[in-house]
């Protein structure tokens, strides 16, 4: 793209894209890249909000018996924090990266159904606005992000927050299913010539299987949401034990969605790691087949483990044995991936860019999250630790230390492609180290808090030595974590204004998105090289070193 004519400057930033000028070009867009950016930006705005809610909670928990906020406020905050981070931040962030990069990575012009893609985004966007509107409509939802019945029944929670919660999740859930179908069809039908499924980049693989998780898991939640709305608005009795309903029915529906949801949130992150580590280790991915096959195993197993969220509800021994076994089994394919990523680094020539630093921290932190997860599969340990701060530590090691660190690796890796500008590596390293310190300082002690008897979701606690100290330490480090996010925002703003021009392929990477300009033109590619192996761009440039079969 170096042909320069006086009339036409080379495109080197989003501002140079004349098709992207004006707000209307975004609102009316069916371009997967614009939709992807809107997903990512919206997700990030809600991420900031979610972090704000978390910081408010950490202030309340800095000391025992604090009165920074009322119990009712605290309950709304933790509900909105969880709901925001799962449904308004993590899922749209992953969808955004997926709809942006899947077409580019398979050499397609756009998604299979561009208008459905836009619909998916706008359903998410307005669903998200609706749940935040509840703050002005009588109070936010206050029953936790998994809103156990019968606490959610009108008899125990009469204000409309939970109605907003259910409606908004229903709207967003419909959008997610649409996007999931769209991604599956795109991967199946839009691949460039020569790119068989077994040559698709692992990020595409992970997204593809993830989309099956989305379209099969979300309906369970959507059905349950319709039921709880019927209970609340039409006096139905699905989850009302006093009228012959079942309290545990909600838990079964919710976790039948909720456990696959955990993998929905982690699989695209696995995909990002599987792209970033090879590129910066200068090696092909180690054991493509094992990585892909273990993903399929995770998809199937993730539907067979949901009751490990319910071990304390009084299940029969047979059920307990089956779900303990399946929950331990799912750790195996996850462990395979960790070792394959390390093996990819092994013998490589590793460049520690910020993206690679985040990917490396992911390996360590996600391992801790995985190991604390295994503790819950050992049922008697679960009987002690479930619903304690140990769970809070576990989910944050998986979703923050895991998913979010992987997404930061992805952002530092792909930001130049999306915007045409490089993020500062210097600020990036500061961002990284602050985040590692802030994250581990905030959450590692929570394992101990849980084992010391601290239940989760409590707005205050009794003054007892380990609890008081551990909560204070966690709160102090949470400020470091929040500061790390500010450093990141600074880096993004600085880079958009006057970052170094990235060029097409700043990392010497080998998947197809790097063959086009940064940012890519509306039509993505002028011509795509045929894929003859796992690394089409590598093969194209270095014919003598091709690794195709």
């Amino acid at each position: 793209m170096s042909e320069e004519s006086p009339a036409q400057r080379p495109i080197s930033s989003l501002a140079d894209m004349k098709e992207y000028r004006g707000i209307f070009s975004w609102i009316a867009s069916v371009d997967h890249k614009q939709i992807g950016i809107m997903y990512i930006v919206s997700a990030f705005v809600f991420f900031i909000v979610g972090v704000g809610l978390a910081i408010a909670m950490r202030i309340q928990l800095m000391e025992p018996h604090a009165h920074f906020m009322s119990p009712e406020t605290y309950n709304q905050l933790f509900t909105m924090h969880g709901t925001t981070m799962v449904f308004l931040m993590a899922m749209p962030l992953l969808f955004g990266v997926s709809v942006y990069f899947v077409p580019l990575m398979i050499g397609a012009r756009d998604m299979a159904f561009p208008r459905l893609n836009a619909l998916g985004f706008w359903l998410y966007f307005f669903g998200a606005l609706m749940i935040y509107f509840s703050f002005m409509a009588g109070g936010a939802p206050n029953a936790g992000w998994f809103s156990y019945a019968p606490l959610t029944e009108k008899a125990y929670s009469s204000h409309p927050g939970l109605d907003y919660w259910a409606l908004s999740l229903l709207v967003m859930g419909a959008g997610s299913v649409a996007t999931g179908i769209n991604l599956i069809v795109t991967v199946l039908t839009m691949r460039t010539s020569g790119m068989t499924l077994t040559r698709a980049p692992l990020f595409v693989w992970m997204t593809f299987f993830n989309s099956f998780l989305v379209i099969l898991a979300l309906p369970a939640l959507n059905a349950a949401l319709v039921m709880i709305l019927a209970d609340r608005q039409l006096n139905a009795h699905f989850f009302s034990p006093a009228h012959g309903g079942s309290a545990l029915l909600w838990q079964n529906y919710f976790w039948l969605f909720g456990h696959p949801e955990v993998y929905i949130l982690i699989l695209p992150a696995f995909g990002v790691i599987s792209e970033v580590i090879p590129v910066f280790s200068r090696k092909m991915i180690y054991g493509y087949d094992f990585l892909a096959a273990s993903t399929v195993a995770i998809v199937f197993l993730s539907y067979a483990v949901w009751m490990h969220h319910m071990f304390a509800t009084g299940l029969s021994y047979l059920v307990l044995y089956v779900f303990a076994g399946s929950s331990m089994l799912i750790a195996v394919p996850t462990g395979i991936k960790i070792f394959n990523w390390i093996a990819t680094m092994w013998g490589g020539s590793i460049r520690f860019t910020t993206a690679m630093l985040f990917a490396t921290a992911f390996l360590i932190q996600f391992t801790i999250g995985g190991l604390s997860g295994v503790a819950f599969a050992a049922i008697p340990i679960d009987w002690q630790l479930t619903d304690s701060y140990f769970v809070v530590a576990h989910i944050h090691y998986v979703l923050l230390g895991g998913t979010l660190f992987a997404m930061f690796a992805g952002i530092y890796y792909w930001f130049p492609k999306v915007t045409g500008r490089l993020l500062s590596e210097k600020i990036g390293r500061l961002n990284f180290w602050l985040m590692v310190i802030g994250f581990n300082g905030t959450f590692f002690g929570m394992h101990w808090l849980g084992a010391a008897g601290m239940p989760r979701r409590a707005y205050t606690f009794l003054d007892r030595p380990p609890l008081t100290t551990l909560h204070l330490v966690s709160s102090l480090f949470s400020f470091v974590l929040a500061f790390a996010i500010l450093v990141f925002i600074w880096n993004v703003v600085r880079s958009l204004r006057n970052g170094a021009v990235a060029g097409n392929n700043p990392w010497d990477a080998w998947t197809l998105e790097w063959t086009t300009t940064s940012p890519p033109p509306v039509e993505n590619f002028e011509a795509t090289p045929p894929a003859r192996g796992w690394r089409p761009f590598w093969d194209f440039r270095k014919k003598e070193e091709t690794d195709h079969d």
């Binding site: 054991g287 707005y459 009794l462």
Partner: protein, 338 residues
């Protein structure tokens, strides 16, 4: 640490926590760690947890040292040749599939073994205590003796007791980390929990399943005592209280009947028979008020009756708009109910 930095509540409701009594109270409090096991059931769980932690430490150290080694050893160096492109080695990969699976298998065996010790299935339930969880307090009924009490569970030491856990409203969870596994309290459902406290003492627990506004202050206090003391306690709890003694207590008893107290509470030997709130027949014998929200003494009970919302915001007991002397009279009456 600065005390009460964020305190915005009026009337010094938490004063008891900020004076010297606080340190003393802390000393008497049992550490609620799951490792400080005081029953064979909790000990079995702690053993399994140690085993799991040991396995986890080995796996973590393996992964971490491999990563650290790779980070140091395989860092890019100037003039380095292009690394060897290794597509993978199925044999090696099978190894790191099978070995973790075998390790997990040992944990699964340990799990099954420990489950049998901790909470074996109950075939013919004959519970010693029925624990009925309410928003936001605990009701304990002893079917053999007929004792009914609230928030403070008395148990005889070294006897294997079966607790039946149920709920009157939403889902709660009975959790005393020193003594036993946690068990959900689910409406229209009975769960069971075995526990054999191995020494005398006070063990603290709490509701562990989020249950609404005051989930945080839904404490459990288990008082484990010698069989003799437990028998004496049972006898005292079965006694029907006599006539109130003294003018204050008499006025208090009258107020208790006239005001709305008896819409929710019961006191044996009087007209008050409602079971909505905690049974107050022997409320004076309890150590705490409001499910562990404050210690039980005349001053605190007066404050509680005057304005429970200041001590436990959002609890179901309303502020009754009593005068100071009315609240005190009722408190004197109730404190005498030992």
């Amino acid at each position: 640490m600065p005390e009460q930095k964020f305190s915005g509540l009026p009337r010094g409701s938490f004063r008891f926590l900020t004076n010297n009594a606080r340190k003393k109270q802390r000393m008497n409090m049992q550490d609620t760690s799951v490792f400080d096991a005081n029953s064979p059931q909790a000990r079995a769980i702690a053993r399994l947890f140690y085993f799991d932690l040991a396995i986890s430490a080995v796996i973590f150290l393996t992964v971490a040292s491999l990563v650290v080694y790779a980070v140091i050893r395989f860092r890019e160096r100037p003039g380095q040749a292009k690394p060897f492109q290794d597509p993978g080695n199925p044999r090696l990969e099978t190894l790191w599939t099978v070995v973790p699976a075998l390790i997990l298998l040992t944990l699964l065996v340990g799990t099954a073994y420990t489950m049998k010790i901790v909470n074996p299935p109950v075939v013919h339930p004959a519970p010693n205590v029925i624990v009925n969880a309410h928003q936001w307090w605990w009701e304990y009924r002893y079917p053999q003796s007929g004792v009914v009490t609230a928030n403070e569970l008395h148990l005889p030491v070294r006897e294997k007791w079966l607790l039946q856990i149920e709920s009157a409203d939403v889902i709660h969870d009975f959790w005393v980390p020193n003594l036993a596994a946690k068990v959900d309290a689910i409406p229209r459902n009975q769960n069971y929990l075995w526990l054999t406290p191995s020494r005398e003492g006070i063990f603290l627990g709490t509701c562990a399943e989020y249950c609404g506004r005051q989930h945080a202050l839904m404490g459990i206090r288990v008082i484990v005592e010698s069989p003799e003391k437990f028998a004496a306690w049972t006898r005292s709890q079965l006694r029907v209280p006599g006539k109130p003694a003294g003018p204050e207590a008499e006025r208090g008893a009258k107020l208790f009947q006239e005001q709305t107290c008896m819409n929710c509470h019961a006191i044996a030997g009087t007209q008050a028979k409602s079971t909505v709130g905690p049974d107050l027949t022997h409320v004076g014998s309890r150590q705490t008020l409001g499910a562990g929200a404050s210690p039980n003494n005349l001053e605190q009970l007066t404050a509680w009756i005057k304005d429970p919302q200041a001590i436990k915001p959002g609890c179901n007991m309303p502020s009754l708009k009593l005068t100071d002397s009315q609240a005190r009279d009722i408190a004197v009456y109730l404190e005498a109910l030992k």
